[in-house]
Symmetry: C2
Subunit: 412 residues, 2 copies
């Protein structure tokens, strides 16, 4: 039998009625001849409740204990869905991360999947045609036998890694949206659903602010070449829409130059004024931040002609803004800067498309279009298949709409 992994998030399993709806989606695929593994998240709100208790117990807490507490949410959903499937006459059983096992690193709270042993599950498929209902988001650190979790959104990664392990034909990620859009439809009503998007583009979109899939899950899908669909659990189970296929570039015949526009408000800008322009100054700024695990993104150094100083601007995640400032402050003597200026009312807008590789001047057109609308660009980064601009947050919608039109993405 061909095999299929289906994944349902927290809003799709928020109560028993919705779990019944999930079971109908599963039944459709079983009837179509698939051996199915279903990966489930915790019921909506449950993970927050569990995390809240951990924080109330102690602000600083052992990540291993946090994992034992939080992983219970998925355990509950896996058992409940197995019960509902059985009540529909379908053989099913729940699998916890440690039962499969899904082996992870010991980075509790944000563990990485090291290996998924699909052998027991495959035996159950063969012997019983039994649906595997898998608790997402969790695994086990094998040497210690402790429960681990993969970090927020980790169930997507559980699903894709499991699909790779059991050689599934594809992995269907069911969410509350019906696919991947050219941009956020709340900002651009003329955004359209993409039929296909390449792994690399999806990786950039997820990294740059599109929240539809966890970045790590796209990486795993790309490495193992798992065709992955994003589709809606709120579609009629009898006749669902196909959603968006995330696949290899070679599967996409008509490649657009730009596939999508993403934006992220989770940015903060830091500018160091009149930094001594001497060898090693960049290291003296960025090493302490790296050691503190603060991710520095866009970096601009304004070359200075008239003096021995320079201005350096960069971005950090908004959540790390205060910590970054205090680290720079305590390293002020070593760095030798005159002033630190910062802003959190900034947004990063990005255009992504593998077609950029073969088209010159894609970013230049954007800079021109944005300046024509009076939007000031604070910083720019580019890579082979995307470019990003940092602008004032007030211009977010205008910038996204401008780029969406510019690259011909507006729905007819």
């Amino acid at each position: 039998m061909p095999r299929l992994v289906m994944k349902f998030g927290g809003t799709s399993v928020a109560d028993i009625d919705r779990i019944r709806n999930v079971a109908r989606h599963v039944k459709r695929e079983v009837d179509a001849g698939y051996d199915v593994a279903v990966v489930v998240s915790a019921m909506a709100g449950k993970t927050n409740e569990l995390v809240g208790w951990c924080r109330e117990a102690s602000v600083i807490h052992d990540a291993r204990e946090y994992d034992a507490v939080v992983a219970s949410g998925e355990q509950v959903t896996s058992g409940l869905l197995a019960i509902v499937l059985q009540s529909m006459g379908l053989p099913a059983r729940s699998w916890q991360g440690w039962q499969i096992p899904i082996k992870t690193s010991n980075a509790h709270g944000a563990a990485r999947i090291l290996d998924v042993d699909g052998s027991k599950m495959l035996r159950h498929f063969e012997e019983r045609r039994e649906i595997a209902v898998v608790a997402g988001f969790q695994g086990m650190h094998e040497p210690t036998g402790r429960i681990s979790t993969l970090g927020r959104g980790g169930s997507d990664t559980s699903a894709v890694a499991l699909a790779a392990a059991i050689g599934a034909e594809r992995c269907d990620i069911y969410t509350d949206v019906d696919g991947v859009y050219t941009t956020d439809p709340r900002i651009v009503p003329r955004a359209s659903r993409l039929d296909k998007v390449s792994y690399e583009e999806m990786l950039e979109m997820s990294s740059l602010g599109a929240k539809v899939l966890q970045v790590r899950s796209v990486e795993v899908a790309m490495v193992h070449n798992v065709p992955t669909y994003v589709r809606s659990s709120f579609d009629d189970p009898a006749a669902p829409n196909p959603g968006t296929l995330i696949c290899g570039e070679e599967e996409i015949v008509e490649q657009q130059t730009v596939t999508g526009i993403a934006y992220s408000r989770d940015e903060a800008q830091i500018t160091l004024r009149r930094v001594a322009d001497k060898p090693g100054v960049a290291a003296s700024i960025f090493m302490p931040l790296a050691e503190a695990n603060i991710n520095v993104d866009m970096i601009i150094q304004v070359v200075s002609y008239d003096s021995a100083t320079t201005d350096i601007t960069f971005t950090v995640p908004a959540s790390e803004y205060e910590r970054a400032k205090s680290i720079l402050d305590s390293n002020r003597a070593a760095i030798e800067y005159e002033a630190l200026q910062g802003a959190t009312d900034v947004v990063k807008v990005s255009a992504i498309g593998v077609g950029m590789r073969s088209h010159a001047g894609v970013a230049a057109r954007a800079f021109k279009a944005l300046s024509e609308k009076g939007i000031n660009i604070r910083a720019i980064t580019t890579s082979e298949i995307k470019f990003s601009v940092l602008i004032d947050e007030a211009y977010t919608e205008l910038a996204v709409r401008t780029l969406h039109s510019l690259y011909g993405l507006d729905k007819a």
Copy 2:
């Protein structure tokens, strides 16, 4: 180091503040020099919530999936208590049933503990003086690797079995009452707390309606001779009361004839009128009930002098009343009875005491005292260390008070 098992029920861990209070009790014993294993139940209300979801998912459900869902409640508490203990500077870690492992039968939902492997936990005691926080109520069926639960109140049994496995000096069961009383203080305000009670007496009290400890836990304590205290988690952690010690008879110097009065409203009476008085009739009544797993308790057969028929009266748990009636109805042709009469407004009142063994006429005094109060006895059973009478439920309090006074149990 001497070892100690402490067990806290759902009301004792109902929220983070109460969990902190539990941690203070644990700290006291650690400071006193014990290596401590703490067994915890789910937060009050959580098990009912989880059971409710299972029922909503399907009225009839796979007990293995029920166990996966319901066992999550204790998993949460174990992690939270470990976090709180750590925040107080005490090394601690959580242990799920499968991690220890606590090996059980495959009677999911009401599994029996087959073996507790204390070796890993003992190594953690020796190497780290680390408090073991154990999820109660749960274990693993080893051949299948599935999570099992012991049935309601099973955390008491987890605690006592663990105490036996790790050679604990004693097992302290913390509840919302401060010990075992001569009877229910809500009915008899002059009931007093017992300092000591023997395993056998406690076993009878638990079986006969005193809800302070699960029957199975007392059996395990008796078989492995684990001194077990019942005490209150609401006492001041700095100066708690000792509670009641459940121990071997030989430890109790001044033995009372009657130690306690128990009562159970969970009884239903069934009377079969004019049953054919022929060999094999008892089997024809009680075999079908036994096959349906219905526990028959008191049996009275009124000997008939004047005809070939007899009346047979017996009791079943109130929850099995309807099922028992329908089984008897469908076997009516084989049994040959004229009429079936039943009542659920009955109560079983029992007096328990190992002293009965050496004192004659203990029960006879009770029958006289009850009849003097105008209480009609519907049925009687006796054993070596207890007797029970079945009476109209309306007389419950009067009968309990009468017997409590009769045997000199009223507090001075």
